[in-house]
């Protein structure tokens, strides 16, 4: 009995492979209708399926395969020519066989369905040849009847067969294909050629079987684990001090080390699979979808041989499929629109995979309509994902990233293909789960590229080992940006606290700081000793990135980088979001692996609600370069801090009170041969309290479009380079808006307005200069 089971299992696996091959060949045949070899290979595969299942006693499956085989043999012998309709029918047959196989897998029985409609369709298609004109187009009557058959099929609601619209289109195509005369020669040549191909293919197939064996994935996983252990044991041995005393031991341990590394590499390789395994499914997906959407799409693939770990292949399968479907459905336009835009009617979908920097890059490029960020923004607002105010501040890139938010879809209507808004966020989370990233590049009416970066393998990852509160933790290196060490004076200089949130000024940008010991609750007793003494003098910051957010993690000590073997946590510990797993270190002790995203989330949750500065910070961090501005911070009267865009500031001057003069009732000052209007900001803003007592006044010379004015301020505070987050528009004349800068509410001066009101006429100035010259 078990022998029988094994035979069935073997049959299922083999058939699955065969069917994939059949699909591929069929699609290839569609583009190269004279591919006799492909036809022969299809025939062989279906024949094998038929033979095996008759042996195993699956009569329904056998009968379907037999019908298909008959049609195929006619095709192979050149008695009838391949049309789109036949291809579609054969593909449906592949689906039906798959369905039965699934049934066998589950219940050891080939199911109740007998696919009568499909069979009669296949038979009918054979009859095209019975008409006696083998090479010619199928008689119109045949098409007609086939269409009837389709609608009939549809009425009967037989699953997995044909959609009428699809069939119609195909019949048309079929008629077209059949008119192509190049098939006429095949009748004579076809037969011997086909036989040859069959033989050649068979011997080739044999050699492939001889040189490879099927291995249970479970066994590979076990081997992988054991090699992981071996790596750890080797690390332990290499750290052993006895080694240094004994040269012979040293030699053999070095050898051990070498062999272990090679073994590790070898085992990793056994788990590597070409990405072609996933890519191979896409031509079919794209074909079916394109038909359903009424589009013409050509798919091209590069780098099918790019290999990555089996678990990763599994993990990226669904996200990739989704992206491909998405490109077909939303990306590539209908042929008419394409033509109107001056593109070829046929859309192009390009899949590329390649290695780069220890990672695998996968690109999905379409030459479709691109993503309209304006529409993205509108939809996002409509769906309540973001507010209009938020959108107005977003850069193009941020707008694009909105499509990854849950509950988002720009498709004008929900189709069965996509547009339910459950996709892109899942794609993103799935990719990030395996330590990958996803990026979009798009150009309106030109096309869109989704770029995925995924690691080669998950089992062994490079990690940074850090210590906090005498406990060691590992941080996966993928999320690591840089390490910052602050000592003594620098700590006060660079680390600020705003409203309970610690931030670090890192190259002019504010980096929110998280204290690992606080997050994991180690500060209480474990970390105290280190906190008191050393913490005052040295702060180690690990700058991390998760989900587009940067933050600094303050740790006690930064130790080393190490290759670690990731082990899952037991179920007792699964619920702790800050740990991604555990690993065994070189010294045999266990260390926990930090989950960077979990850390960020946990810390994010701990921040009190409504703390504006915090959300600003994360916003501005996400904002990228777009809104960075250099600002001059000044103080005027009681009104607190004012900001002036530095780009408009010409000079900072200190002037004597006595230098002030009066012209037509306004205060002016002679400045470099000009008469500069002098404005007391405190008067304009009505903030009062300006100190008149001093002899020296601080003047900011503003220059904009050849117009200049002098502004009197009380004090120059600082120059900062920051993202300006407009909190609200200002109602007061002379002020543009209010923003939070360096943790303080700061009014931004409306320089334009001041200049317009006070500056001397622009025409006057150059004229005056000319006279002087």
């Amino acid at each position: 009995m078990s022998e029988m089971d094994a035979a069935i299992q073997e049959f299922l696996v083999e058939s699955d492979e065969n069917l994939s091959q059949v699909e591929k060949d069929l699609l290839e045949l569609e583009s190269h209708p004279d591919g006799q070899e492909a036809l022969a290979s299809i025939f062989r595969a279906i024949h094998t399926v038929k033979g095996t299942c008759s042996f195993l006693g699956y009569s329904k499956l056998e009968s379907l395969a037999h019908t298909g085989e008959t049609l195929l043999s006619l095709l192979r012998d050149g008695d009838i020519s391949l049309s789109g309709e036949i291809t579609t029918a054969l593909l449906s047959m592949v689906d039906a066989i798959r369905k039965m196989l699934a049934c066998i897998q589950e219940s050891n029985h080939d199911g109740e369905e007998d696919f009568a409609e499909l069979k009669s369709l296949l038979t009918r298609l054979q009859k095209g040849s019975d008409a006696g004109i083998p090479m010619a187009a199928p008689a119109p009557a045949a098409i007609q009847s086939a269409q009837e058959e389709h609608s009939h099929t549809d009425e009967n609601d037989t699953p997995e067969t044909l959609v009428p619209a699809q069939a119609e289109e195909h019949s048309d195509e079929g008629a077209g294909t059949a008119e192509i005369p190049d098939l006429s020669g095949l009748r004579t040549l076809g037969n011997p050629g086909g036989d040859k191909a069959e033989k050649g293919g068979a011997s080739h197939g044999l050699s492939a079987v001889d040189s490879s064996i099927r291995v249970d994935v479970g066994l590979l996983d076990k081997l992988m684990n054991m090699v992981g252990e071996l790596v750890l044991t080797r690390n332990q041995i290499l750290q052993c001090p006895i080694l240094l005393d004994d040269p012979s031991l040293q030699t053999s341990s070095q050898r051990l080390s070498l062999i272990t590394s090679e073994l590790q590499e070898g085992i990793m390789k056994t788990r590597m699979q070409p990405i072609g395994n996933i890519f191979g499914k896409f031509p079919r997906v794209v074909r079916d979808l394109a038909l359903a959407c009424g589009k013409q799409i050509r798919i091209e693939m590069e780098g099918k041989g790019t290999e990555l770990d089996k678990t990763l292949i599994e993990a990226i399968k669904d996200p990739l499929t989704h992206l491909v479907r998405n490109s077909v459905d939303h990306g590539i336009e209908a042929s008419d629109i394409r033509e109107a835009r001056g593109k070829s009617r046929e859309g192009l979908l390009l899949l590329r995979a390649y290695h780069e920097g220890g990672q695998v890059n996968i690109e999905i490029t379409d030459d479709g309509g691109g993503i309209n960020t304006q529409r993205v923004a509108e939809t996002a607002i409509k769906r309540g994902v973001v507010t209009g105010e938020q959108v107005s501040k977003m850069s193009e890139r941020e707008l694009l990233n909105l499509i990854f938010l849950p509950g988002f879809s720009t498709a004008a209507k929900v189709t069965n293909v996509s547009g339910r808004g459950v996709g892109m966020d899942v794609v993103k989370t799935n990719i990030e789960k395996i330590g990958g990233t996803i990026d979009i590049q798009t150009k309106l009416e030109k096309g869109t590229t989704f770029k995925l970066k995924v690691p080669l393998t998950l089992a062994i990852i490079p990690a940074l080992i850090i210590t906090t509160g005498e406990e060691r933790f590992a941080i996966p290196q993928v999320s690591l940006l840089e390490l910052v060490r602050l000592e003594g004076e620098q700590i006060k200089k660079y680390i600020d606290s705003l409203h309970g949130t610690s931030v670090c000024r890192l190259r002019g940008q504010l980096l929110p700081l998280l204290y690992l010991n606080q997050i994991v609750g180690l500060s209480s007793k474990h970390a105290m000793a280190t906190m008191n003494e050393e913490h005052e003098e040295v702060v180690n910051i690990v700058v991390l990135q998760a989900d587009g957010q940067r933050f600094g993690l303050v740790v006690d000590e930064i130790n080393d980088t190490e290759e670690i073997v990731v082990k899952p946590l037991s179920k007792q510990l699964k619920g702790i979001p800050v740990f991604a797993g555990a690993t065994i270190m070189g010294d045999g002790r266990v260390a926990l692996i930090l989950d960077v995203l979990g850390l960020a989330n946990r810390a994010g949750m701990a921040i009190p609600q409504g703390d504006a500065s915090r959300s600003d910070l994360s916003d501005s961090l996400k904002a990228g370069q777009g809104q960075r501005q250099t600002l001059l911070l000044v103080k005027v009267g009681e009104s607190g801090q004012l900001a002036i865009p530095l780009s408009m500031v010409a000079r900072l001057e200190e002037i004597k009170t006595t230098a002030l003069e009066e012209a037509s009732g306004n205060e002016v000052i002679q400045y470099r041969g000009e008469i500069l209007p002098f404005i007391r900001l405190c008067q304009v803003l009505g903030s009062g309290g300006a100190s008149e007592d001093g002899e020296a006044l601080q003047m900011v010379v503003i220059s904009h479009e050849n117009k200049r004015i002098g502004l009197m301020v009380d004090k120059i505070v600082d120059i900062v380079d920051e993202h300006v987050q407009v909190k609200r528009r200002s109602t007061k004349s002379g002020l543009l808006c209010s923003a939070v800068i360096q943790g303080r509410v700061t009014d931004v001066l409306d320089v334009q307005q001041l200049i317009n009101e006070h500056a001397v006429l622009p025409e006057g100035e150059p004229a005056g200069e000319l006279v002087e010259v």
């Binding site: 474990h526 037991s570 007792q572 702790i576 555990a582 045999g588 926990l592």
Partner: protein
């Protein structure tokens, strides 16, 4: 039901406990442990058992008994579960006992708290009582609630 059962026995704060030997993978002496922050109090940490990472549960804390004094390092009773081995930290290890069903009695209905959930029965032995633990429940440590 007359088949005698074999129990691996151990001591916890003067109480005498037993788990079916069939559940026990091995008994080992105290191992250095890695503390797991944010985990339930009952989880003592992680040990490296010949390359396998095993969660150690402090049975005293799990049963809400008072903490053991530091002087005596606990023993690990490594239990097989469906999700891999789990270690139980106990004060001291006893013998493997063979007891007959005749001495068995369900736990008194007056038993309170965690013990009521985790103790499935009592064997009346000479001079003392052997408390039988429900292993499946013991290893299901409640998650620490978010602070």
């Amino acid at each position: 039901m007359s088949d005698p059962q074999q129990y691996c026995t151990f001591y916890l704060a003067n109480l005498y406990f037993g788990v079916s030997v069939l559940n026990v993978q091995e008994v080992i002496k105290f191992q250095p442990m890695t503390f797991v922050p944010l985990a339930s109090r009952a989880v003592s940490g992680l040990i490296n058992l010949r390359g396998q990472i095993v969660t150690a549960i402090d049975l005293r804390r799990r049963l809400e008994l008072e903490d053991r004094e530091d002087s005596e390092p606990p023993m690990n009773v490594v239990i097989r579960t469906d999700e891999g081995p789990v270690s139980l930290l106990v004060d001291d290890i006893g013998d493997v006992l063979e007891v007959s069903d005749s001495s068995y009695e369900p736990p008194p209905s007056t038993m309170k708290g965690v013990a009521k959930e985790l103790i499935t029965g009592v064997h009346k032995l000479e001079g003392r009582l052997l408390l039988i633990l429900d292993i499946a429940k013991v290893v299901m440590v409640p998650q620490l609630k978010e602070v």
